[in-house]
């Protein structure tokens, strides 16, 4: 029996002790009329070898194209050691560390994770992960509404330069609590949220302002001005940041005069394979004064009866298993293993390595931009500082172009048309450190050929 160790003799002995004739008798409390009669239409069992072959075929179907899509999920080099260690049974197959003394491995690692994330964002404290970047932003919004004592407003300002799906997710999660999201338009010339445009909200009451850095277009927002404006108006500032970018860009804690109140984002760039979108992890950091309103697990350092340092879940009174309906969130299981990988990733890269990753990603994207001159009909949409991702406008329709390039095993970027129709034939393109000069050349060559062909076939 797959994964069941019982021998027939043992089953007999066990039933005898229980005092039951057979296993079926153990289900006697289930009303008979509810009992399933046939065993359903599941496929028959496969051996590991058989399912292995099936999965190998399926994995091959998805092949491994040259990919210039970013748009919230980034292909980075993951050191081999990351998953060789994270996949060790002791990390992989442990539960949430409820018995602290028997979980010091996970707990100390998470304490280290919190320290690293807090330092990267500049914030005082970090939790031990949320589901992903989008849901972390939603939790940040809920938290900001709880925390902002200056305002009783349940309205939150959300720039349109925030990832379009993040905006959907936030709406899904917060709207049942009567929170209203007010969208901030962006400048279609510059690709950022124009700080001056906020003045028209000066008289209204808001709980929080979300500030993405870089924003969905890769453009750097004027985070100092935006944060200062929020502070001046009694609005909490929520920084939504890319952790790789943080190695180069100023930490949210230093935005404007006061820094943000909450920083959150998607942790995927730190050691999580692209994996069709998950599992990734969300992170959330904040000022110490807000820590009791923070959602998710938090690990604290304490001492044992000998006075030796040890680690344990702390501030559990915020959580659902203690506080139940008054908890800061319903989150229970988070993305532990992904933070395990992220912690090892950060340790293997170190501050200099991580800065080099960020710089190389950015330099590759800039190099690509500089070489676009070689292609007719391509232009940069925005002329402002960016980080590792840019919007191109093309003189041909994007979808047929992408389809064609996909056939050639090139995923040339993300089509912005559906989310931002006002931008026309716009393509969001990203390079990371995984893209060599040859890859860039390949991109240029295939793209220009395809565009030329498309143009020809149109006339």
């Amino acid at each position: 029996m797959p994964f069941i160790p019982h021998t027939a003799d043992e089953v007999r002995e066990m039933l005898a002790l229980i005092g039951a004739q057979n296993i079926d008798e153990l289900f006697s409390e289930i009303p008979l009329e509810l009992r399933l009669r046939e065993s359903g239409k599941l496929p028959p069992a496969l051996t590991e070898m058989e399912v292995g072959r099936l999965m190998q075929e399926r994995a091959l179907q998805d092949s491994q194209p040259l990919c210039f899509i970013g748009a919230g999920a980034y292909e980075h080099h993951i050191p081999a050691a990351v998953w060789e260690i994270a996949a060790r049974g002791e990390f992989y197959s442990a539960y949430t560390p409820y018995q602290a003394e028997a979980s010091q491995g996970t707990l100390q690692l998470l304490y280290e994770f919190q320290t690293m994330m807090a330092s990267l964002t500049g914030m005082d404290v970090s939790n031990a992960s949320l589901y992903d970047g989008a849901s972390a932003l939603a939790e940040a919004v809920l938290m900001a509404v709880r925390v902002n004592h200056k305002s009783k407003s349940r309205r939150v300002l959300m720039p349109m330069t925030v990832h379009p799906v993040y905006r959907q997710v936030v709406r899904t999660i917060v709207h049942n609590q009567g929170i209203e999201l007010v969208e901030l338009p962006y400048c279609t010339e510059c690709g950022n949220t124009v700080p001056d445009s906020l003045h028209r909200f000066a008289d209204e009451d808001f709980a929080a302002l979300i500030i993405p850095q870089p924003n969905f277009f890769g453009i750097l927002e004027e985070v100092d001005l935006l944060t200062d404006w929020a502070y001046a108006n009694g609005i909490l500032a929520i920084g939504l940041v890319n952790p790789t970018a943080l190695a180069l860009l100023s930490p949210p804690d230093e935005w404007g005069g006061q820094g943000v109140d909450i920083a959150c984002g998607e942790g995927q760039p730190f050691g999580a394979p692209l994996s069709s979108g998950g599992p990734y992890f969300g992170f959330l950091c904040c000022r110490e004064s807000h820590v009791r309103q923070m959602p998710g697990r938090i690990i604290g350092r304490t001492t044992d009866t000998d006075g030796k340092a040890g680690y344990t879940l702390t501030l559990q009174a915020r959580e659902q298993h203690i506080r139940r309906s008054r908890a800061t969130s319903n989150i229970c299981t988070n993305q532990g293993l992904m933070t395990t990988a992220a912690t090892i990733y950060m340790a293997l890269l170190g501050p200099a390595g991580l800065e080099q990753v960020a710089a190389c990603c950015h330099a590759a994207t800039r190099k690509l931009v500089e070489n676009l001159g070689a292609i007719e009909g391509v232009e940069m949409q925005f002329d402002r500082p960016f980080f590792h991702e840019v919007v191109l406008v093309l003189d041909v329709p994007v979808q047929p172009l992408l389809d064609r390039l996909a056939q050639q095993q090139l995923l040339a970027g993300y089509h912005l048309g559906a989310d931002y129709p006002e931008l026309g034939n716009a393509l969001l393109v990203c390079c990371t450190e995984t893209k060599s000069d040859d890859d860039l050349q390949q991109f240029i060559t295939l793209l220009s050929e395809a565009m030329a062909d498309l143009r020809r076939s149109r006339c």
Binding site: E10, V11, I18, A94, Q99, T172, F281, Q320
Partner: protein, 482 residues
């Protein structure tokens, strides 16, 4: 020692950082970071050694019996990990075009949806929720969307048994509901009379698990369904306990309108020291239009995403992509390896193990919370007498079990049973392990009688002794500052 304590300023690991001069001068100074973050500066070997050693301080399914009630800590087949980690799966960008670069993964997800429909008896499944609690959110949000779609806006209350898991009431609140607790009767069932009294036009629905968190099957589930449905409410099934009934009875057949599953429990995906999990939701007819997106569809032999176009009334999206796909693949592989028959045996042997261990512990003199009931896949034991007699409470027993090489059961949950252990052995443990655990419990009981301090000071053989949780809160230290 913390990783930071191995750090030395200026140490790098150049093999892992990309090479080359990478000027960043086009980024204006005002956007740039001025101080490097406090990340460790260690060699690759130092990192490997540090985290390898840390891992060894964990108890885990791969190393210890882990009868943590409600958590279904069963064997996580290694093959699921290896196969879900094939480069084709790991390397796929979430936005890669599905017609050319995604049919493999979508085929698996589509089939998983179908299989989960089969085992739950629901009409349709969405795989997107990233854990049980997010599945609950999705489910309750659908209940709310349903009532709203009918203009039935007065329903402001969600009923939750007092024994429910904390995520249930917390979820209700996140969805804007008031929570009303339903008491449990002496036999561990929902107090039907109390239920009748509170069910009414203000009732949006009820959240239940069955078997309940008390480790027993809710026998009058049909009556409960009638009461709630007659009142115009819907029934939510918390799938955390599905392991107990797989192939025996289906939530859909019991009358539930919506359900979440915990793949990281029932379907053996790893818990990873806290996650990632996966909490797919299944719905009956009424809630079909509200499913969270995306869902995988099939047309003419090829697979694609179903989105707001096909589900205009969807409660929306819960993650930037489609949740924890790597975990979904593991569950898919697991189910394929079990097949129809294997799935059915899960409940049988999980239940056999629970009843056997319950009986053994009862014979050894421990008191069961519901001695007259059959255990489901788990059962509750109360140490209230022992605590009174010896001064060693459930927590002390739990910590002492660690010394004996067993992870402790769930303690102090459900709260209504004093000094309780919620014990779930799962089907993947063998008889000898259960016997060993029962003997350890007896030995500890003996120790409690002769030397209760031994328990109160426990554990004695772990990397740390009993930790001071109170201090952890009072002197909050959640970030290392050197």
């Amino acid at each position: 020692m913390l990783i930071f304590e191995h750090s030395r300023s200026g140490r790098t690991n150049p093999v892992q950082a990309p090479r080359g001069e990478a000027a960043k001068s086009d980024i204006p100074q005002r956007f740039r970071r001025r101080h490097r973050p406090l990340l460790p500066e260690v060699s690759e070997m130092q990192a490997v050694r540090h985290y390898t050693r840390l891992s060894r301080q964990n108890y885990a399914i791969d190393t210890h019996f882990y009868p943590l009630g409600s958590c279904t800590m069963k064997y996580n087949p290694r093959g699921c990990n290896t196969l879900a980690s094939l480069p084709g799966f790991l390397g796929r960008h979430p936005l890669a075009p599905t017609p050319t670069h995604g049919q493999g993964v979508l085929a698996c997800l589509f089939e998983l949806q179908e299989m989960l429909k089969q085992v739950t008896g629901m009409q349709e499944v969405s795989l997107t929720p990233m854990a049980g609690a997010q599945g609950e959110f999705a489910g309750v949000a659908m209940i709310r969307a349903y009532h709203e779609s009918r203009g039935d806006e007065e329903r402001a209350e969600l009923l939750v048994p007092d024994a429910a898991h904390g995520t249930n009431p917390a979820t209700a609140i996140m969805c804007g509901y008031k929570v009303r607790e339903i008491p449990t009767d002496a036999a561990g069932d929902v107090d039907i009379e109390a239920l009748r009294q509170v069910a009414g036009p203000q009732t949006a629905g009820i959240m239940l698990t069955n078997p309940s968190t008390l480790g027993v099957f809710e026998r009058r589930i049909h009556e409960i369904a009638d009461i709630i449905h007659s009142a115009g409410g819907l029934l939510y099934y918390d799938g955390a306990n599905l392991n107990a009934i797989l192939g025996k009875v289906r939530p859909g057949d019991m009358g539930f309108d919506v359900i979440h599953l915990n793949l990281h429990k029932t379907f053996a995906t790893p818990h990873g020291g806290g996650g990632p999990g996966s909490g797919p939701v299944g719905v009956g007819k009424r809630l079909l239009p509200f499913l969270p997106i995306p869902v995988v569809g099939r047309k003419g032999g090829s697979y694609y995403w179903l989105t707001e176009q096909e589900y205009p009334q969807s409660i929306g999206r819960l993650s930037a992509h489609m949740g924890n796909i790597g975990i979904l693949l593991r569950a898919y592989i697991y189910i394929r390896m079990l097949g129809a028959e294997g799935i059915e045996r899960i409940a049988e042997f999980a239940t056999l193990n629970a009843n056997y261990l319950m009986k053994r512990l009862a014979q050894n003199g421990f008191e069961m919370a519901f001695p007259e009931r059959r255990a489901s896949h788990e059962f509750i034991l109360t140490l209230k007498n022992e605590a009174k007699q010896t001064g060693a409470n459930a927590m002390d027993f739990a910590k002492r079990l660690l010394d004996y090489g067993y992870h402790a059961p769930t303690t102090y949950f459900p709260l209504l049973v004093p000094e309780c252990f919620l014990i779930e052995p799962t089907e993947t443990e063998d008889k000898a392990t259960l016997d060993g655990f029962a003997e350890a419990m007896s030995a500890i009981l003996q120790e409690a009688r002769t030397n209760p301090e031994l328990l109160k000071q426990a554990p004695h053989s772990l990397p740390v002794k009993r930790l001071d949780d109170v201090k952890a809160v009072r002197k909050l230290d959640v970030v290392w500052r050197g």
